[in-house]
Point group: C2
Chain length 374, copies 2
């Protein structure tokens, strides 16, 4: 632990581990969501890799995981060192304000001066040292009262991400790279994305936010007082086994379902209260099979990426990605940029170019009542 960094001894990481990852069907499922899979071939699930990245920053006892009740056993199997007090189970998904806000409220009750940072359970970052340096600056800026986003310097004109438009440098001790955030911008079209890449004023919004818990909660309360009240009520009961259950049963169902971007990040940017730390590390949200293929091939489009411990693939003049969850022989002949995902009860065949459309299939399966494979 770098004791020299302002606020780092008060820092706590929150990992909201939710979301199925519909664009990764049929690999990701309701009962086996994206964060439980090893999509990088590293031998670790995305959740475990996220944990391993965060645990050294303030210590393994200062990382909290928020996940669905159904995933408790799987999460604990991935992170045996996770203390009971550090797992928050959602009785039903209520989007990121509730997930992160509840964790922040619980931690704030336990430690009034805690600084929290929220990091998705299913993203990939390999440059852990650069990541850590960005977090340390974010913590320093949060300690100074800012709500802080860590943005990612774009490496290509991506149209699948939101962007943070950056303004002038801020003069914050311990956060020399901090800039004021001017606004969040939605996923752009390609010409706009190219402009963003060229102007060096736009960063990808990677959904990483750091703030003092009291600042974060107050900001949630400004957007939605009822939601904050619910979170506070839950937090007050959380560490008392006698009352937690009934309070959860009463309060949880009524919590507003809203992303933290809308309750915290965007309004804070409008109010001039959001700082941005530009992250110079690699980052991938592995949002679809094309990005997994890219991750594995190192950008060489001629390669065939193969995922799956027991994969038995015979390929001739083929490229793209094969994900094998069965022990079947998979034979590819003359298929380029192909995506083949082979699971015991569902098979997907598409191309990298169509990877984003996988979500439509999941929607169609839902509509047609075949939710047993979702």
């Amino acid at each position: 632990m770098a004791k020299g960094v302002a606020g780092l001894d008060r820092f706590y990481s929150i990992i909201p581990a939710g979301g199925i990852g519909s664009r990764l069907w049929p690999l990701s499922r309701a009962d086996a969501p994206k964060f439980l899979h090893d999509l990088t071939g590293s031998g670790s699930s995305l959740l475990r890799a996220t944990w391993d990245r965060l645990a050294p920053i303030a210590g393994p006892e200062r990382v909290m995981v928020v996940t669905g009740r159904a995933h408790r056993a799987a999460v604990e199997a991935q992170i045996p060192e996770l203390a009971d007090a550090n797992i928050v189970l959602e009785s039903e998904p209520k989007d990121s304000t509730a997930a992160i806000g509840l964790a922040a409220a619980i931690l704030h009750r336990r430690e009034p001066d805690v600084i929290v940072g929220s990091f998705a359970a299913d993203h990939v970052i390999t440059d852990v040292r650069a990541f850590r340096r960005a977090v340390e600056q974010a913590v320093a800026a949060a300690d100074a009262g800012w709500i802080v986003a860590i943005g990612i310097a774009p490496t290509e004109p991506a149209i699948g991400f939101g962007y943070i438009q950056c303004g002038n440098p801020l003069d914050i001790a311990g956060a020399p790279d901090a800039l004021v955030a001017e606004q969040f911008v939605e996923k752009p079209d390609l010409p706009t994305a190219k402009k963003y890449l060229a102007d060096e004023k736009h960063l990808w919004n990677a959904g990483m936010f750091v703030a003092r818990a009291d600042v974060l909660l107050a900001r949630i309360g400004e957007s939605d007082p009822a939601l904050l009240a619910g979170l506070e009520e839950l937090a007050a009961a959380w560490d008392d086994p006698a009352v937690r259950g009934p309070v959860v049963d009463r309060v949880w169902p009524g919590l507003a379902k809203i992303a933290i971007d809308y309750t915290v990040a965007e309004p804070a940017a409008k109010e001039g209260r959001l700082a941005v730390i530009p992250g110079s590390f690699d980052w991938d949200d592995v949002g679809d099979f094309a990005s997994i293929a890219k991750l594995h091939s190192g950008g060489r489009s001629s390669d065939l990426a193969i995922l799956g411990e027991n994969a038995r693939v015979l390929a001739d003049a083929s490229s793209g990605i094969v994900v094998s969850q069965t022990e079947r022989i998979i034979s590819l002949i003359g298929v380029r940029d192909i995506v083949v995902v082979d699971t015991p009860d569902a098979l997907l065949v598409t191309t990298s170019q169509n990877a984003q459309r996988v979500k439509n299939v999941v929607d169609a399966l839902k509509l047609s009542g075949r939710s047993e494979v979702l």
Copy 2:
């Protein structure tokens, strides 16, 4: 039965049911060869459809099936009306001269003036009436002493078939369309195939041969006296249960492995003894998945053909063919001319353009010792 046609009351059909159909892996297997599959979606296997086409010509008691011992139960399940005397079981495959020649030799012992016709178990013909008219002419020409091939008028410049080059009309009673065959030509290149299509003198060699059994056997003997002697010895013992077994065990292993094209058809053409009846019916050897797809789509390349009783396919902007032998959900997104063959232990993904290369995979699997999926 058309008693008016010369020789038809002495006609006997032979169906050699052998060959795995490597280009149709992983659908076709050693234990489930092509002829046992319903590739047309008609509800009948190719073998059953062949039987149904032939049985009316001279009666269901005058059709003989030659197949491997391993396929006896499957063949009898397909054709419950097949009499024991009409199934010839090969102890090991010895190519088409042995298969057809043995059947002819057995039938010739039983009926010295029998006329035999040989028809593959795994081809598709839908115009049964035109097929029958061609067979009747072939029988008439065979009755007049000719060895007769039924050729197919090309409908496209196919490079995957051999051709029969036709000469002048023959004046044979009951066979008004008969031409003399000038020679057999190997699979041509595309310019040559286009020339053949235009000159109207070339027919596809569909491997259908009709001849008096004594003429056929004599021709085999001219090419390979030892092979004929072996076939005669087998035939002499065949209908005597006390001696068949030992004779088969002694003689079969030594039979030459050679296609009937080389022992009968090509030399007969060279000798001016081969007549051709041009068939005006549709014919498809369903040699690969591209031809199955074409068969199902009626030539519309935008269509997705789906084979499999329990197929559960969800397709978006996709064309080609899906063969499903599992109950898995198969989802296709934006894949054109795709070939997906989904079986319990092997999956094939290729395109129509690469369908002929499937055989290479089978060879590679053999070489790598994974014959359990062949």
